[in-house]
Amino acid sequence: MPEIFISDTPDLEKKEDKNLEKAERKIKNEDHDPHHHHGKFSSFRLYPRDIDFETRSDDEKVVLLLRQHFIVNLKWIFIAILMSLVPGTVSMFGILSSLPSGFEIVINIVWYLVTMAYVLENFLSWYFNVYIVTNERIIDVDFNNLIYKRISDATLDNIQDITYNMGGVVRTVFNYGDILIQTASEVSEFDFLAVPEPDKVVKIINDLVPQVK
C-alpha cells in the first residue's frame, strides 16, 4: 500500500536538537572567562552537570544556574562576626557579673545559638534562591519566610523582552546587576536580582530563544 502521508515530526525534532546543540557550542565557545569556575558555591554556573530540580523533564538540560553575587553576603557575614564577638566583649566589661551564677552561661549559649541561626538562615536563603535557565524555560526559585516556596517558570518562546541594569559603584566594580525579563506567560515579569555578569546572561538567553521559536 502506498504511503499517502508520512509525518515529518522526527525531522523537525532532529532539526530542533541540532539548533540547540549549535546554541550550546556557541555559548560554550564565547565563555572564555577564567573566573567561571564551576564550584558549587559559584553564582554563575554554565552547563552544570550535577544539578537537578523538582520539575525538570527528562529531556530538559540546565544551561545556566544563577544566584545572587557572593558580595551580597558580606553584610550578614560582617554582622555575624560582630555578633560572635559580643559575649567576649560583654564578659570583658563584666556587664553580666551581677546576675546569679549560671545566667551568664545560659545567656552566652543562647546568644551563640541565635548567631548560628542567623548565619544558617542567611546562607540557606542565598544558596537556594536560584535562577535557572534551561534549554526549554527560565525558572525562578524562591524560598521566603521559612517554609514558603514559590517556583515560577516561563518557556523560552514566551520571552518577549530582556533588559538589565548595573547602576552603582559596587555593582559596576564587581560586575553584577538585575535582569528583568518580560514574558507572555502567567508570570509576566521575572527579576533575576544581583546576578553576576548580567550582559552574558542576557546574551545566553538571547542565543537560546531563537532555537525554540
Binding site: 558549587k40 545560659v106 545559638l113 541561626a117 544558617l120 537556594f128 536560584v130 517554609i147
Partner: protein
C-alpha cells in the same frame, strides 16, 4: 496566698520565661530542619548532606540550650 506570691523569686519567673522562649526556639529549630528538607527535595545543588547536618546540629544545640536553662538556672 499573697505571701506565697511575694515569696516567689524574680529569678524563678525569669527562668520560666527563659524556658518558654527556648521552647518556642526549639519549634523554630525544627522548622529550619523542615525547611532544609523542603529545599533539598526541590533542588539538588550539591552539599545537601552537609547542609542537612548543620540543620540538625542547630537543633541539637537548641535542645542543649533548653536543658542548660532547665538545669543551670
Amino acid at each position: 496566698m499573697i505571701d506565697t506570691i511575694l515569696n516567689i523569686s524574680i529569678w524563678l519567673v525569669v527562668k520560666i520565661a527563659a524556658l518558654i522562649l527556648l521552647g518556642i526556639y526549639l519549634v523554630f529549630a525544627l522548622v529550619i530542619v523542615r525547611q532544609i528538607k523542603l529545599m533539598t527535595s526541590t533542588l539538588t545543588l550539591g552539599y545537601e548532606g552537609l547542609i542537612t547536618f548543620f540543620g540538625y546540629i542547630h537543633l541539637i544545640f537548641a535542645v542543649l540550650a533548653f536543658l542548660a536553662a532547665l538545669l543551670i538556672l
